[in-house]
Subunit: 335 residues, 3 copies
């Protein structure tokens, strides 16, 4: 089990020891846990005020705390600017990414024309197509399928049974959770009077560095041009990105969001769960969409929206609160 | 083909022969079918009044019927308290669960350190990781992946291409439909000023006995503590359960429901399709949520809710009905 | 690289050369691209007026255009009735479906009792069960699982890691995108006082000719009778079709739509993304549902609907627009 002294922990998170633990900088901790579950050899953190009552009773050796938060006198504290970020840093110390070591399971099917860096891991029953290239340190887990001529960068992780179809491009440090599907055909047909003709989907999917795609999420390939997910974008489970969508850097979408074809989503946006957007729209940088909201027109940058059709969040809150007054409103008018 | 006498069928369902079939308790039936499709050697049932008109024309040898339902005089009837439950029992007689017999397909990859009960079946191209334990009678179908150190109970069924990641715990008689993903990483990041830092998701998923998870549904592992699905919970296809959610026993969620992180769902709740809940909430025991409703605050036990934000169902019905009067209301006020 | 003369291209799309290219019918093109990206040896098309400004600057050798659209004088034009359909036809010429050639990867597991036409392709680590039949020209990609006794027609494509469970029937030219699940158990339980009894789901899924099912979409098998998807139906990614649903020919559902059990959807319907329907309903032929709408009662054929509960689209537009006036309406009444 990994362990670290409190003073080294403070260094990792850029914090300062405070309270009784100032006298015991060499005390070792072996992990991070919640306030209620932490033991005397673990650190903890408070990032959600909802749980501040637990500061009194926690057994944690030290709590990552911001300076504007009162702490019980006898509490070991590591003062930090952002406790949640500090928690992330400490947790990443205790649980670093698994290291690729070049294992290729005998049952994996790796096309002879593919080019894998020496330390790439390929798990049992994974399939790597022709002309694929995979960069250093990437891990391809059991049951994954990588289509022909796809390029995968370094230090990526494709978890179990995820699929990247042919001709796609993944940057570095991309993570696919299990069952994610990159590069399925977009949904394109032309009506020919008596049947639909499928339009071949010949574009690619391009995922930037540090993109993470959730379990069973789907990112479709472009119809002609590409579907592009810029660097640092995080998509939760079962998010759907249609063909030719462009998602700007560091945008975050919670589970079950759906973005229709050719819509351009700006940088740094936040989509609540089950929200969606119609196609061919522009959603400006930094927009926030509440859960289940539905976008049917362009949205200005920086706005906060809710409802279907999506309207400014404050307006939606007011209107929603009055929805339940409708019976009263109606009755009053009938008089 | 399996067959059973009407009197034995009545015993299985705890019912009583009534009508002309009282005189023919030894008549054999070979299955259960709908009222419209049943033949003279099949039983049928009426559980939805919508179909009661079909009692007159059904060819079924016997119909599972509750005593408060009028039946045509010449109809063979097995009187029962709950026809739908009786149907379930009879159908389970005719279609018992497949029995595991210890088959291990040559193409399956089973780590030498895993411990499988003698009769566990492992299908083609399935992958069982290191330190896994699997109890008696469990069936692992083709293409499944079970991660390291996961414990799976007895009499479970993991259908094709489903995934259970590392360190998870499945009780007994758990069923995963194809493509279900248990134990993917939760959606957790901290913003570090210029990028997101992924927070290692080190908790587990714990599924109780008799839990069933639908096709392509996802249950994420906890960030620190565990994601817990208590006994008897049934989740339909593409349901999303985020990290550290707790779902109480016998709660049922229809397809495409999404529950955000750390929300606590009570026992015996019912969620309609495409409904969802924000994170860090408490939804009391026995709550019912209409389809597409959105929970954004704690809900008291036993309530029936609809809409986004979710409000009492009766109120929502009234308000929704009046939505379409808004043009009238508006016009009247402008006068 | 495939190439074709402009006159042959015009023949394929049933169009007529117009503008300067009338004098150069033998000029070769090598593909189709968007107006902005096309080069001088590619064709392009205008089907969405939103992009008509790009006609002035496109470098395309020829643009598929309808006769009611003005074109710059120096633009090479192929006049057609329906530019989008013409685009589809030309794209299909340049990118025909891959041809099956009877390759069976050594790692595929094909039961000896299955019957595959000579030219059926089976990819790495795919699994074909007992008693399966597969028609000429069908391609089964890597990691797919086909259950016992399922019948698959000719010229079908099962993309990576898709699953068809036992006893299902797929017509000809069916396409499953990666991760699609056909024939998982429907969601059926009876409450037995202290637990749910699972009702064995013994019906089948029947997919007609030319059906396409999106990535990670799910079509459940019937409880007793069958779940039926008629010819030409197109379901986008993560669409959910519950047990015993019947979807009429040429109906199209965008991503994340959910149809509950036993509902009958008519022919030629269009469902917007994230819309859904309750169970046991009838949705008439040719209905159009806006994105995120929720159907809770039968719908007459040919209607256009939106909202939850779904109401006529025009009414919904008016009512939605007035939602944001509710604060004003309320205030005015309080006076």
């Amino acid at each position: 089990m990994k362990s670290i002294s409190l003073s080294d922990a403070a260094t990792i998170v850029g914090g300062v020891l405070s309270g009784p633990i100032k006298e015991m900088p060499d005390h070792l901790i072996t992990g991070v846990n919640t306030l209620s579950d932490a033991s005397a050899d673990e650190a903890s953190f408070l990032s959600n005020k909802r749980y501040k009552g637990e500061l009194d009773s926690t057994a944690a050796a030290a709590v990552l705390l911001s300076s504007d938060q009162d702490a019980p006198e006898n509490l070991g504290v590591i003062l930090v600017k952002d406790p949640y970020l500090a928690f992330a840093k400490l947790q990443r110390f205790f649980h670093p990414r698994a290291k690729a070591t070049g294992q290729r399971h005998a049952s994996a099917v790796i096309d002879a024309t593919s080019q894998l860096a020496a330390d790439v891991d390929v798990g049992p029953n994974a399939v790597i197509g022709a002309g694929v290239s995979i960069g250093a340190g990437t891990i391809i887990a059991a049951g994954c399928v990588v289509g022909d001529n796809t390029e995968i960068g370094s230090a990526c992780t494709l978890n179990a049974n995820s699929v990247v179809a042919h001709n796609c491009i993944l940057g570095n440090k991309v993570i696919l959770q299990p069952g994610a599907i990159i590069g399925a055909d977009g949904f394109g047909y032309a009506w020919a009077g008596d049947q639909f003709l499928k339009i071949p989907q010949v574009g690619r999917v391009i995922l930037g560095d540090d993109v993470e795609i959730g379990a069973n999420a789907t990112v479709d390939r472009g119809a002609i041009g590409d579907t592009v997910i810029e660097r640092g974008v995080k998509l939760d489970n079962m998010v759907q990105i249609a063909h030719n969508v462009h998602v700007g850097a560091y945008t975050v979408m919670a589970s079950q969001v759906g973005i229709s074809g050719s819509t351009k989503v700006g940088k740094g946006c936040q989509f609540g769960g089950q929200s969606g957007s119609a196609g061919h729209l522009e959603i400006g940088d930094g927009c926030k969409l509440a859960g289940q909201s539905g976008v049917i027109g362009d949205l200005e940058a920086g706005g906060v929206y809710a409802g279907t059709p999506a309207i400014p969040h404050r307006l939606w809150l007011k209107a929603s609160a009055l929805m339940i007054k409708l019976p009263k409103i109606w009755k009053a008018q009938q008089k």
